[in-house]
Amino acid sequence: MAAEPIVRVLGVHKFFTRGSEQIDVLNDLHMEVADGEFLALMGPSGSGKTTLLNLIAGLDKPSQGDIWVGGQLISGMTEGQLARWRTRHVGFIFQFYHLLPVLTAYENVELPLLLLPLSTSERRRQVTLALDLVGLSDRLRHRPGQLSGGQQQRVGIARAIVTDPTLIVADEPTGDLDARSAEEILNLMGELRRSMNKTILMVTHDPRAAQRAQRVLHLDKGQLVEGDGHAGKSQEIWTPASARDGSPAMRGAVEGRPS
């Protein structure tokens, strides 16, 4: 029997309102992410990648449809419930790291743990472990201004994993890094997935980053086109419409090509 997917997106619509105009960002989206999978989301600007990421991470709610993460229906939660859920179940890696400049690396990583009922010694143990995993155990007392871009992203990754979340979401994690640092970060993420069996959902424009993923999904105008993780290949798109009438739906115009 196939394992239950860790993420299930069912018939999700998302639109924004600008004055009297309704802007559709996601249209009748269906997708699943298996437990321990490394999935990359690609697509042109405005295709809805970040919006989809935010919905799965519980940072926003769909206008319509359901989202299940780790067996919980998050699309029905209140803002307060989502905040508590995110603390335990989601680790977020930002493109621009977004570390608090007045806190040390240790304190930045400790931030999510402040929301959990842990003692000071327990927090210390987990923070030290997380920073050790990303290779920054000698930078505990450094502030972000004293770290390189790659090191700051490592701290960001440590912060994302310190609560042992169900899901790690990364929004352009290598977008602000040079090639070498980006390579290190991708290696680290791959290692985390392998050693800790973490499910990683990554939005990226970088084909090299996408190649590290087990599966690549392309998003265009709010709809998914699935790839197999390698540039240049695409498969038939699955939508409820195609399942009904057996005809192929729209094929992805972007086939592994960064925007």
């Binding site: 930002f94 977004h98 304190e107 931030l111």
Partner: protein, 454 residues
Amino acid sequence: MGYLIPIQELLWQMKQHPEQMSAMLVWIIAIATVTLFLLASAGFYYRKYVTLVFKSLRRNLLRTFLTSLAVMVLVFVLTLVVSFLAVLDFVMTEKSKDLKAIVTERWQVPSQMPYAYAPTLEQGAANRSGDIRPEDSMTWSFYGGTIDPEKKTRENMVFAFAMDPRKLRSMMDDLEDLDPAAQQKLVDNKRGILIGREKLQSMNKRVGERIKVTSMNYKDIDLEFDIVGTFPDGRYNNSAVMNRDYLVDALDAYPRTHNGSKHPLADKSLNLVWLRVPDTEAFRHMADQIMGSSLYSSPAVKVETASSGIATWIEPYRDLLWGLKWLLVPTLLITMVLVIANAISISVRERRTEMAVLKVLGFSPGRILALVLGEAVLIGGGSGLVSAGLWYYLIHGVMGGIKFPIAFFPIFDIYPDALWWGLLFGMVAALAGSIIPAWSARTVKVSEVFAKVA
């Protein structure tokens, strides 16, 4: 604003009623312990976030410093104004027990009653069974003059209360610590005079010296005094006390050297009579006795409590005091609110992304609101406490109060209550000023912030 000085009121009560001190102390310790326990518990429970709040203030040290400085200056001015108003309230607050009644001339200011009124007034005009007699009494006549009639200056003038020296420690406020030997010297030596330290210094005189005062209100009654002592440091630093018998004898002797003519003030030398009564009921009864007596018809007299007497005295300044209380104080508070609002608004605007990150990490909107409010309260409350504490130390501890040479008033001082005023004003202003930016921080939309960032 008397309600703002509970600590000072309590200290005064403990001084007046030492037999109740132990009970009062128990209450003080109990309340202080419970309060500190609650604060410590809250601080301990939320200590995880205290570091975050403190460190956020370090983000822009210059802005934090300038905001704190502005709050400290405003709290200083507020503390001075509120202290001044609190003193006035304190002295004008009607007491219910241990009252002092003042008897003065009814239709004239300054009050100038004949000295013949004194013996019966000191008994509260009691002459029938059932009449109330005062627990204690004191008469005042005012004698003022200069020790250098050729060149009159503020420094060489002296203003003395002519009174029965035996009543100094029992009836005069804040003279419980007067040296009994100095008081006895005044009793034994009719020509004796006690002069306050600052007045002695300004006149360049010392205890033991003799001075001749050329009177300015009792013309041609120039008296020689032996300086037999001085007052404890306090409200009488610029005052003097002489034996009333000396003045009375001089008035009686005046006709012998002035062709049999009485001195113009011979029948007007009694200015005030103080009477101590146990409670308001006794006061009312005695007031009726005095004002209903036929002994005091020309001139007529009136009886009022000390607090209402002071209120009458400052009646001309009512509008000014109203302006201080209802215009200046609110203006200062509003200014403090705006200063803090400005600083916190800028801080929140700069940190919208940071607020969004905290939300992503799981900080609830309520926690983010609390963090911003915490920063504001720390600046406002902390600055207020430091400012009030600093000025309390300087004005009360070092200067001994702001000396105001008005007879009825104590030295204007910063009370220990200023410590919690400063903290409270700062905290309240901080909360009021930061609530809108804190709400704005609370409602940051993560998706909008990161859409702009990306």
